[in-house]
């Protein structure tokens, strides 16, 4: 008898719902034993997301703290000293006076001792009476364009401040920026929810991607095949224990974010947990699909990493705003589950968004999750029959 015929003999045997549930429970139990027995992996699964969040949350600080500014003052006039003290008085700059030439600046840039050099020309200030203005030069190490832009903008503000002090002119407009939800513009508020989204999808996809590949590698998939268990039962039975594990992870990670990084939880925690579960389901189902494609655990894991880590990091809006990307990448970003989850988790934590605000991303996420589940159950049937 061909394997296919054997399959249909077992898999299409009529069964009650109760029997089906029993089989699912047995499978889930078996999978749970697998998880609990492999202590090292379990420890990694629980600890890895937390350690990552702690590391990232601590290190991910894109606010530039201090800029080492060298000053070449060729003028040595009261005005030049006043300008230097304006730079010294700003929060950003640490001022070092230099002597020598502009070539010295290049050497110090190369050694990364200085990030900017202010060159005050001789006779600085004397031209103000004659020409109406005087020029100072700012050399910026712009190899990191972000830092370069910040240094430039900050210096402009310092110089403009001194200039308006000199002229005593009144502004035409009174511009009043008000920053909502994160008035101190803390990086952690933005990145901690982002890292949560990243580690959750990675861990959930990794978890399930290994399961089927392992059974295949060890030859136990064929043993499973000989039992009366149906493909969709295998899918559910395999996902459930990992879903529970991933949810535990999620609670831990969210707790670390709120307790350690003081990220506010302004919305409804239950809503957050519910929508997080949907997000986890997309990751788990994705991992399941990958495991049906990959022949070995190694390939399954690498695929899980490639399909979750990079798209989530680059295309979800975690670091780089989607609206600034070229059109084809924006279109791709609609396929990344984290794109929707980020709106949810940042919304609920930081803005206190309610269900009414998040209907659209939540429904898209739910749809994705169901679609992935359907695909994985289908793929499962075909892999089992081959």
């Amino acid at each position: 008898m061909s394997p296919r015929a054997l399959n249909s003999l077992f898999l299409h045997r009529p069964g009650t719902l109760q029997a089906s549930l029993r089989r699912i429970r047995a499978l889930a139990q078996k999978e749970l034993y697998h998880i609990l027995r492999d202590f090292r992996t379990l420890a990694i699964v629980i600890l890895m997301p937390i350690v990552q969040l702690v590391m990232f949350g601590y290190a991910l600080n894109l606010e530039i703290q201090r800029v080492d500014l060298g000053v070449l003052d060729y003028a040595r006039t009261p005005l030049s000293r006043q300008l230097i003290s304006c730079f010294e008085g700003s929060r950003l700059f640490r001022v070092f006076s230099m002597d020598g030439s502009a070539e010295e600046a290049d050497r110090l840039f190369r050694l990364r001792r200085l990030q900017a050099v202010l060159v005050i020309p001789p006779r600085f200030g004397e031209e103000v009476e004659r020409r109406g203005f005087s020029t100072v030069q700012l050399l910026v190490d712009a190899s990191d364009p972000n830092a370069g832009t910040l240094i430039r903008d900050y210096s402009r503000r310092v110089v403009a401040g001194l200039a308006s002090e000199k002229t005593g002119s009144q502004p035409l407009l009174d511009f009043r920026p008000t920053i909502l939800f994160n008035p101190d513009l803390k990086s952690a508020y933005f990145f901690v929810p982002g890292i949560i989204a990243l580690v959750l999808v990675m861990i959930s996809a990794l978890l399930t991607s290994i399961t089927v590949a392992r059974e295949r590698e060890m030859g136990t998939l064929e043993a499973l095949l000989a039992t009366p268990v149906r493909p969709h039962e295998i899918v559910v039975g395999k996902v459930l224990p990992y879903a529970a594990l991933a949810l535990v992870d999620a609670v831990f990670v969210l707790a670390v974010g709120v307790l350690l990084y003081r990220v506010p939880l302004r919305g409804d925690p239950l809503l957050l947990l519910l929508l997080t579960a949907i997000y986890l389901a997309t990751g788990l189902n994705l991992g399941l699909i990958l495991s049906t494609v990959a022949r070995t655990q190694q390939v399954a894991m690498i695929m899980a990493m490639v399909t979750t880590l990079l798209p989530t990091l680059l295309l979800s809006g975690l670091i780089f705003p989607i609206a600034s990307m070229p059109g084809w990448l924006q279109a791709l970003s609609y396929l990344v589950p984290a794109r929707y989850y980020l709106l949810i988790v940042r919304g609920i934590l930081l803005k206190g968004s309610a269900w009414a605000h998040l209907v659209q991303p939540s429904l898209v996420l739910l749809g994705m999750s169901l679609l992935l589940l359907a695909v994985s159950a289908r793929r499962f049937r075909t892999t089992l029959e081959v």
Binding site: A59, N61, L62, D141, R176, P177, I179, K351, H357
Partner: protein, 372 residues
Amino acid sequence: MRAVGFLVRKEFQQIRRDRPVLGIIFVVPLLQLLIFANVLTTETKHVKLAVVDLDRSRLSRALATAFSNTDRFRVVGFTTDVAAIPSEMRAWRVQAALVIPPGFQSKLVRGESPALQCLVDGVDGNTAAVALGYAEGILSQFLTEYARREAANAELPAQPIRLEERMLYNPDLSSRQYMIPGLVVALLTIIPMLLTALSFTREREMGTLEQLLVTPLRKHELLAGKLIPYLILSYAELAVVTTAAIVVFRIHVEGSLVLLAGLGLLYLFTTLGLGLFVSTVTESQQQAMFVAYFLIVFMLLMSGFFIPIPNMPLLLKKLTYLDPMRYFMAIVRDVFQKGSSLPSLLPDVLPMTAFGLAIFSLSVLKFRKQLG
């Protein structure tokens, strides 16, 4: 020596047969390069702006037009209800709102400096700060034009001190020029390390390492035979990725490519050594993956690749000196952008070499000891 050659050939055959691995080595990095080159931009565009025009005058409309004419902002709606803005922000429909108060035009004309409020969603602090900067720029341009056109008698604030900026090494302020060389380093770390670690653990898992041991191969021949293929592959990868960066993505190289190639070879001792090290502390490929992944995340984080080291808290700053990637990251960026030569790179080259030698010899010793 011939034995080593056979082993190298065996390893290459194994790699050639394993299609996904080849894809991981050559296709994935190029895709990453493509996406990175397009994603990485310091420019903030299309910030969703709501205009709350409570004045409904000619000047208030002109101001709104000034905002909608740039690609920095995308005006998503006009409203007169300020109270609705936070709720719109909660639903992610609006990122910023410009509130033009009643009497804006008349006050401006009388020179009474009307208050102009700008509400910004601060969740993405970086975007918020940049957007506010743009808003100030647009406003000052609007006021200059207004003063020039409509109030010829009103005197513009004079600017007695002018700042002349020179942005060195990256005059276009291009993020690509900064990040793509960094990505080359990241790829040259991740892939050699993963491949080496997995190839050794696989042999161990399958029991074929012991089979190799009973052959007349000596231990150092075995090691060389397994490592050389990955050294060659990683080096090929460096060549492919760098070529793509220069030819396809038009990354400008200021310094010497020969220097880069030489130092790249030196760095590979570190990454291959780390891969070997991972394989000696793990039992299965799965564990090796996890440990390697963890190491990679740590190294990436501490290398200055995307988080500038000067921004870090002091403790982390000190920790970065333990990250061999930190040195190579600085070297590659300096060679690409500043055109630095070996003498000025020595402060990074020396610790990198020391790390490479230490890691490589330690893992070789550990491996040999394990083989008994």
